[in-house]
Symmetry: C2
Subunit: 440 residues, 2 copies
């Protein structure tokens, strides 16, 4: 521990306090982190947080910290910056990194190319195990992302296989790399989207995946620690969409107030206008409500039961599609299952609804002589709406995926709004059929 | 590639087909995976999938595959098994692993103790770099989880520091482990919950975290690949809860039909009974609806606008709490922000709602002489309900967390149901005040 003028701040203390600090407080506190741990602290920050610190520093200091970053992190930082700051940030990188960063900037952020680090440990197939280990030892000095997996390339940089450092440690020293390398390498191309990449990591239990072009020339590696971030971000986006808003892309307190309103108002307006159709549909039945106001009392109950069933079904399928547990081609199997589920759930809830009316009738005489018919109408409507909700909710994510859109847009509120409209129509149609001549 | 009687099946083909296969097909196909890659394939399966295969094998074969598993995976497998199968599975492990598995079974599945592997690479502080590297080389043969981080322990197994293999490679051979080791080690205890563990991984960019007891005796390590699974599972649970159901704990097609109904019907019934309160509340205003049936047409519009705003707010806060971006103590800051957001969103939607009534009036004379008052009533009610939705939706997750419950239970449907009830009361109260003497 070095003695400093001000009290030093330990990284874990600063980490805890960080979210609540203003920008200026962050810059000031960062200066007080002891040098020995400041590097790790800096690297652990998000691209946006790094950028804030860098922009508040003097040019000399900024250069030092910027050059600490591997090329993939430097790319994230440049992408987070305003266009007018980008050139000046790029100009402070060293020549090699700048070239690498320029190349990486061409890839979309959510593809393997945008996640990969072009610096990886490499070996030649003809090396002996001992040569390979000492060659890897040398490469640790060149800031490769990991030395724990080494990629075996031919002279044209074509990927031939992979060996883990562990395998090298384990092998007889006289053998050659080609003898022990794994030839059936799990790899991705630069355009593979990040959801697929993260699925490959979990399916194969890997800590790094190589990125190759169409001729299997090695371009870089994606590592597991990048993927944890991807998995968190994708889940956050999905959860926010399921909740009925645009993905926020940044922590709650870091999004400006107006920016947050913008992410929320869009869907609210669409849903509001959609729900106006429900008002119009009910308007068609205004005469029925005038005759029997009691009918209107059950509207919230009936439409919400369909909406809730629909939210459950859509959320379930959205997540299953995202995890690859259910594929597009499974839609038919899912639909059969959801029809059965919708019928079962609908009959259960319908029975409870009808039972409630009959019970109130026998206790308080709430609904007069036609209570039994009213109970039948409400019960059947609930059953129908719940079935409709389960089918709509489960099929909508498939439809969106099929159209190339994000299934997560089939949010709970969106499905509920769709089901509300049909719920009103189902209910009042049932009432017209079952109650004309009695209540109506 | 070995030549076999039947066509061999490549692991990646089997991986793709796996979700759609029946249990028997899985057992049959697994036998056709070439031996060289079957180990990796087996290890990559989930605990439940491994268990299915093992239970379908003969005793000899089962033992071979079971002994392939590191102790933490063996624990997951035993936990997935029915109680009556557990003892027979345990009896087929070798003595050492059985003891380790018994010790690990004592921990809760969602704590660091339940995730850790007791086999890790260890070093003594007084070793030279060269001694350390060759000692690690020896340890690769003992099935330690990773050799890429080595933990430096004293004679009493107290954790003194950590060195990465990379640092060892980088260091001058004459130095000692104690000279280069990192002493400020990020560690957790056996009881640390898995959400905290996964947050530490992302904050510090680690690939392994040591687990220690209160006297810093080293117990095991948790590795990043376990955490990816944890992060996925936690996100899945949260998404399913946000969608208004109990977490499913297994892929869609692997949960039996009745099991799935059970996970869904509970919340649906609670919400249905809750929504009955809305029916009762509307019942209080039945005379108003009899006088002016037009009032009932706007009920779905008004209550759904509050429900949608509430879902957005609760989902946003649930995810922010889960990621640690917002803490319990931030509730006051959040509430002020959500009041402002609720007022802004409410005024915007209220204006659209009132505008729609005035427009229809001028185009179709839909609402008669009191259209302006009706527009005011609907507009103000929407504004009030939206504000109520934003505040309820954002505060409910804090309340649940404060009570020690899961914030994700403040699901979109749950918040919507709460807001429906208050929405009906707000709307009809406003109507009573503003319309008595005109429409009412």
């Amino acid at each position: 521990m070095t003695v400093m003028d001000a009290e030093p701040i330990f990284p874990h203390e600063l980490r805890d306090a960080w979210p609540a600090l203003s920008r200026d407080e962050r810059v000031e506190s960062f200066k007080l982190v002891p040098h020995a741990t400041a590097d790790d602290f800096f690297i652990s920050l998000s691209a946006q947080e790094k950028l804030e610190l860098l922009l508040a520093m003097g040019p000399g200091e900024r250069r030092t910290w910027l050059r600490l970053l591997p090329p993939d992190d430097a790319v994230d930082l440049v992408q987070a910056a305003d266009p007018e700051d980008r050139e000046s940030l790029l100009s402070e990188l060293d020549e090699t990194t700048r070239r690498e960063v320029h190349a990486l900037l061409a890839y979309a952020e959510d593809e393997a190319g945008g996640l990969m680090n072009p610096r990886f440990a490499r070996l030649r197939p003809e090396m002996t195990i001992d040569e390979a280990i000492s060659y890897l030892r040398k490469q640790t000095r060149e800031k490769v992302e990991t030395v724990y997996y080494a990629y075996v390339l031919d002279a044209k940089q074509v990927l031939l296989g992979v060996v883990s450092l562990r395998q090298l440690f384990h092998a007889a020293p006289a053998k050659r790399v080609a003898d022990i390398m794994e030839r059936d390498v799990v790899s991705v191309t630069e355009e593979t989207d990040q959801e697929t990449v993260s699925r490959l990591f979990t399916e194969h239990g890997l800590i790094a995946i190589p990125v190759v072009d169409d001729e299997r020339h090695m371009k870089g590696i994606v590592t597991l620690d990048d993927i944890v971030q991807v998995v968190q971000e994708e889940a956050t986006e999905d959860i926010q969409k399921v909740g009925g808003m645009e993905a926020l892309d940044a922590p709650y307190f870091e999004v400006g107030f107006l920016g947050m309103l913008k992410k929320r108002i869009g869907w609210l307006l669409i849903l509001f206008v959609g729900e106006m159709l429900t008002t119009s549909a009910m308007g068609r039945f205004e005469h029925a409500i005038q005759k029997a106001a009691v009918l209107s009392l059950f509207v919230p109950l009936i439409i919400s039961s369909g909406g809730n069933t629909g939210s459950q079904a859509s959320t379930l399928i959205i997540r299953s599609l995202a995890l690859g547990e259910v594929r597009l081609r499974d839609w038919w199997r899912v639909s059969r299952r959801e029809v059965m589920a919708g019928i079962s759930l609908g009959l259960a809830l319908g029975a409870v609804g009808a039972g409630r009316i009959l019970l109130w009738q026998s206790l308080f005489d709430s609904y007069g002589e036609h209570a039994a018919r009213l109970a039948l109408t409400v019960g059947l409507s609930v059953a129908g709406v719940v079935l409709f909700g389960a089918v709509t909710g489960s099929m909508l994510p498939f439809l969106l995926r099929r159209l190339g859109l994000d299934p997560a847009s089939a949010s709970a509120p969106f499905v509920a709004t769709l089901v509300d409209l049909s719920g009103v129509i189902i209910y009042f149609s049932a009432a017209t059929v079952l109650l004309t001549g009695t209540l109506l």
